[in-house]
């Protein structure tokens, strides 16, 4: 009956993805997106790929924090007051309970057998493959991340100087 859990998580992913497209306020869409990512991380954890699931969760948390900070900058709070639904607290509580359950699942659930025993996707195995077979990709991605950070910082500093602020 392990497949039942997969189907539950897949249904959660698809429902959250559908809601993130259809829901009107952008903050709710971002929360639905978080729900979808956490459900995918739950599926990955069930497949014995816990490191990848935690990497996915941490990257999503970081990007969503930046997203929410940006949304707070550009948000129209008067419009937010109009678009808050009546049962917002119930909805947010439901999402919170779902997120807690899925996070607890990441810690306590053993792996799912798909056909035979699941392969070993532990951190040493992944690290070995990453640095033995995909060393060039790692270097390219590291250069990409570094250039991206430097470019963004340079852009923001230049903009600050143009506005007359202290860089």
């Amino acid at each position: 009956m392990y497949a039942v859990e997969f189907y539950i998580f897949a249904a959660l992913v698809l429902t959250a993805a559908f809601l993130s497209v259809t829901v009107r306020p952008i903050l709710y869409a971002a929360f639905c997106q978080v729900q979808a990512v956490v459900a995918v991380a739950g599926i990955l954890a069930g497949l014995n790929a816990k490191f990848v699931s935690f990497a996915l969760l941490s990257m999503t948390a970081a990007s969503m924090l930046v997203f929410l900070m940006f949304a707070l900058i550009v948000f129209d709070f008067h419009q937010l007051q109009k678009t808050v639904p009546q049962k917002a607290s119930v909805t947010s509580l439901t999402f919170f309970v779902l997120l807690c359950l899925q996070t607890a699942y990441l810690f306590f659930k053993p792996q799912w057998p798909i056909k035979k025993s699941a392969p070993d996707f532990s951190l040493p195995v992944l690290g070995n493959i990453l640095y033995a077979d995909y060393g060039l990709c790692v270097v390219i991605f590291a250069a990409l991340v570094l250039s991206c950070m430097v470019g963004i910082s340079a852009l923001l500093v230049r903009k600050k100087k143009e506005n007359g602020g202290n860089a």
Binding site: V4, V13, V21, F141, L156
Partner: protein, 102 residues
């Protein structure tokens, strides 16, 4: 009941479809487009991870790591650019973005 390849492909295709639908539905709002693009990336990540588990090959998980990394870079870089654009033009609507410099 088992986890079959068609089910996995269906879920990931629906994720990509929702992403494309989101891009087309909210094509005037840059931030909603960004969220929809993340859905597309999530679909491909799901596909690679499940394929990796099905075929007992860890390369899919490595590619999933790269995709997650790419999604984070894309989100943060585009939000920084959006912030610059918003400070200058006071909106994030694509149909009013014809005055962008190269």
């Amino acid at each position: 009941m088992s986890i079959d390849v068609p089910v996995i492909l269906t879920v990931s295709s629906f994720l990509v479809f929702f992403g494309l639908w989101g891009v087309l539905r909210h094509r005037r709002d840059l931030m909603r487009i960004l969220l929809a693009l993340q859905l597309i990336f999530l679909g491909s990540l799901f596909n690679f991870s499940m394929g990796s588990a099905l075929f007992y090959e860890a390369s899919g998980l490595i590619l999933s790591l790269f995709i997650a990394c790419l999604t984070g870079i894309q989100t943060v870089a585009s939000l920084a650019l959006f912030l610059l654009y918003f400070q200058k033009h006071d909106h994030l609507m694509t149909d009013r973005a014809e005055m962008m410099k190269g």
